[in-house]
Symmetry: none
Subunit: 230 residues, 2 copies
DNA sequence: CGGAGTGAAGTT
DNA sequence: AACTTCACTCCG
């Protein structure tokens, strides 16, 4: 089937079909199918062919790849450009599509709150657009957001360091070299803490993100934070 | 609307997330989510992403669509073991079986260091699993239940509570009702802590997982922990 | 030949 | 039934 034009009974007389195998690349071995009109014009897709033939030939059941009519293949209405779909939030806020910043806003509307505070970030003021939670909005005024959060960050980091000291886990401290040589490192609790130990208040540049998740049953607390150091 | 690539904090630094709305066809209005590696490679599904990341990143609770870690989704990827058994605590799933991913609770006692190659090519990371699993398995054996772990958990939680107290952010405390009514709750740094305040040592059941990630430049610390309460 | 965009089988 | 995953189409 390669490189050879064949007759195509499913089309009017004179039409030819050609199949060309791809020789290289990611799609090596796959093929492209082309059709040629009696006058030699080349067609590379079914829509293109359909446009050309217009109503004279119903290609609804025409399988472009095989060149045959496939009764089982019913015509499908592909042109459904609906612009009316505002079903973005039917009953449920659209957390999926929201960007991080906007999530913060939507989160507020439902009893969900996410805080992203980073002075170097563009995140900040969207919180103020959350209209349905006055109390929470209140808590996010910028002034205390910065000071409060950094204070929090410092305290929290120190606390973690302290906690680590209390841990019975051994400290091997081999993480530095590993960190130097690898693009990323996941450390065991006891290992990573080696790093934490060395962190002082002055080292902290900022808290980047803090999430706190509490499960429905409130028995699980999931804390998730990014901390940038100087 | 959503043609913009956004950072994805749940993945290592440099990864981007994109959501594209389908504009036409039968699935018009639906969306596709894509991720981009730091090198620009596009990922169109969670399995594809997982294959690429190998063991370097545990995507067990990663929600591909939202780009977030979803603790509640943890049952997803493996076959379930026996559904009910002698779980130590009533009404709550056994953590070690319900959350397959972190049966590697090794995280705690064992100074296991997981060095991960950031995927800049297609090399699989199976070797890493082979080499590090044994050590982790070793750590599972003990009932790490409430020895050093709880001490750590308690201290850490207390520390967080303290940190919160020091925060200048007001505490509105409206989160409880929200928690009762919603499948999940994301709390503001200042808000969620309302919960933390009430946590005493006796409340802590266990730390389930603690991850600490240190960026290549070692200027970013990413701490991620789950804490179960009684 | 690549790849964004879509279809549709597979999965839950 | 809806979502996820991946193959395929179509056009550059």
């Amino acid at each position: 089937m390669e490189r050879k034009k064949t007759d195509c009974p499913a089309l009017p007389p004179g039409w030819k079909k050609e199949e060309v195998i791809r020789k290289s690349g990611l799609s090596a071995g796959k093929s492209d199918v082309y059709y040629y009109s009696p006058t030699g014009k080349k067609f590379r897709s079914k829509p293109q062919l359909s446009r050309y033939l217009g109503n004279s030939v119903d290609l609804g059941c025409f399988d472009f790849r095989t060149g045959k009519m496939m009764p089982s293949k019913m015509q499908k209405n592909k042109q459904r450009l609906r612009s009316d779909n505002l079903s973005l939030s039917k009953g449920k806020p659209d957390l999926n599509t929201a960007l991080p910043i906007r999530q913060t806003a939507s989160i507020f509307k439902q009893p969900v709150t996410k805080v992203v505070n980073h002075p170097n970030n563009k995140v900040k003021t969207d919180l103020q657009r959350a209209t349905e939670q006055p109390r929470q909005v209140h808590t996010h005024t910028q002034s205390h957001t910065h000071s409060g959060l950094n204070a929090f960050a410092i305290t929290l980091l120190s606390a973690i360091a302290s906690a680590l000291h209390m841990s019975s886990a051994p400290i091997t401290g081999q993480t530095s070299s590993a960190a130097d040589k690898n693009p990323s490192i996941w450390l065991n609790t006891s290992q990573p803490l080696c790093k934490a130990f060395t962190v002082t208040d002055d080292d902290i540049r900022d808290i980047y993100t803090v999430y706190i998740y509490i499960s429905p049953g409130e028995n699980l607390i999931f804390i998730w934070l990014f901390i940038y150091l100087k």
